[in-house]
Chain length 247, copies 2
DNA sequence: CGTCACTTTGAAAGCTTTCAATAGGAGTGG
DNA sequence: CCACTCCTATTGAAAGCTTTCAAAGTGACG
């Protein structure tokens, strides 16, 4: 498990993950020596609006980070996996609530110490910078998805992104429930369910229980996701749909 | 104009802008001495996918930063105002295309030098960090908007966010066209237009030409935006709409 | 003052949501 | 170990909001 974690963490930072074999420094190095604490599924580690005193590193398990509108509507900003860090911001309050989806193990440290250590280290600093850039890129991908993709494209894009994170053949795990997926993709639970059913009926995927999916036709799924260049697809439509962009 | 710019730039960085009176260091200090270049409306400064060799600082004017799906659908990730910086990332390619909406003046420098200078400066480094955090927060606000708000809430939220950036009474300027607003808010141009018309008919706003709006009833608009706590509103609905969140 | 591009408005269609009911899984207790 | 119960997921039908298609209106600019 630890090796897997290290690899996934590496990929976030190294431009060419395949080229790296020996252990490279990662942000998680700041947390060495801290004891890992365990939280049960459903527990919240931090609450939106609370004073942001601590920074956490996910060692094991998956969390959801979300914000809630006053009337109760929830939007999940992202899912946190091993190697991810929560609570990094220059605001004095947490911007999201982070809740365990599965049982999780995390290590924590005071935010002030975290920043001091990272700031003093010539090797750690670029890693924090890279982490923030990764986060920004993920956020932009998500904005593109929410802004311009339909329900099927959203679900397929999500499945593929999970696949990229944890590529073990064509099998992916979905620790989160359908409601989490819906609140992440800007859909309702029913729509997510319908899309999944439809994909399965077309044999593009097959569900294995509620929390695992077999991506049976990856290339077809990539085409559906909306981000495929359509190498074999119709070039015409792509060129004529919208006149590139207005001046 | 310069004074205005400095103020808006300060707000982005200082936790308590009201407390600062004398010139504080800002990221733009890196660009002093660089000549400002002018670009006409419609011109692109950087292209998504191009090698990211340069970092730009907006001196004057407004730009749009966007990504495009293979079939031509466009999503605007954000609008860039004076004091904003483009091209900062640890990827070697630009992630977005940045196009001038109005005539703009920018200052540029090689990315490598930008990073070297920021990295060497004890005062500049936290400013870059703050900039990234600001960007992350804006992205999360946008994800919440795109994920869970309806058309009217989106448009009103946008108008209010512009108002916060450039509060000059109740008047705001919208240098971008309706299509830009639509591609930023995940709507169509027609829907944006309809919402604007509806708001005007209800006298919550009044449009002044195409590029200026008078926010006539700010508190009502805040209530509509979806983010209002509803101090005077019905507390019941907020509490019962969704059972907080599922375990 | 005419042209062109952008915006507004209308009507119909479509996709997603809402409401409702059934089905399925996981955990608990007998 | 199996039955029961509860929570989550799936499915169906109708409603609703936004989009699409189409046309008229408005403003900027040469």
């Amino acid at each position: 498990m630890n090796a897997e974690v290290a690899i996934s963490s590496l990929r976030q930072v190294a431009p060419f993950p395949g080229l790296l074999r020996e252990p490279a420094p990662t942000l998680r190095d700041v947390f060495v020596g801290k004891v890992a604490e365990t939280h049960a599924a459903g527990e919240a580690l931090i609450f939106e609006g609370d004073v942001a005193g601590q920074v956490f590193e996910v060692v094991t398990g998956v969390l959801r980070a979300f914000r809630i509108l006053p009337d109760g509507r929830r939007a999940i900003m992202g899912f946190l996996y091993a190697g991810d860090v929560i609570g990094v911001s220059h605001y004095d309050r947490y911007l999201v609530t982070a809740e365990a989806i599965t049982e999780v193990k995390v290590r924590r440290m005071p935010r002030s110490r975290f920043f001091a250590e990272v700031n003093d280290s010539q090797t750690l600093r670029p890693l924090l910078f890279a982490l923030l850039c990764e986060g920004m890129t993920a956020a932009q991908d998500q904005m593109l998805l929410l802004c311009r993709k339909n329900a099927e494209e959203r679900v397929v894009s999500f499945l593929l992104s999970v696949h990229e994170k944890s590529a073990v053949g064509a099998m992916i795990e979905l620790p989160m429930g359908r409601l989490d997926m819906a609140d992440y993709l800007g859909l309702t639970i029913e729509t997510v369910s319908r899309v999944m059913t439809s994909l399965a009926r077309r044999e593009l995927i097959s569900t294995v229980g509620r929390h695992a999916v077999n991506l049976r036709k990856l290339s077809a799924l990539r085409r559906i996701s909306g981000e495929d260049e359509g190498a074999d697809g119709d070039f015409e439509r792509a060129a004529t749909r919208r006149a590139v962009w207005p001046q």
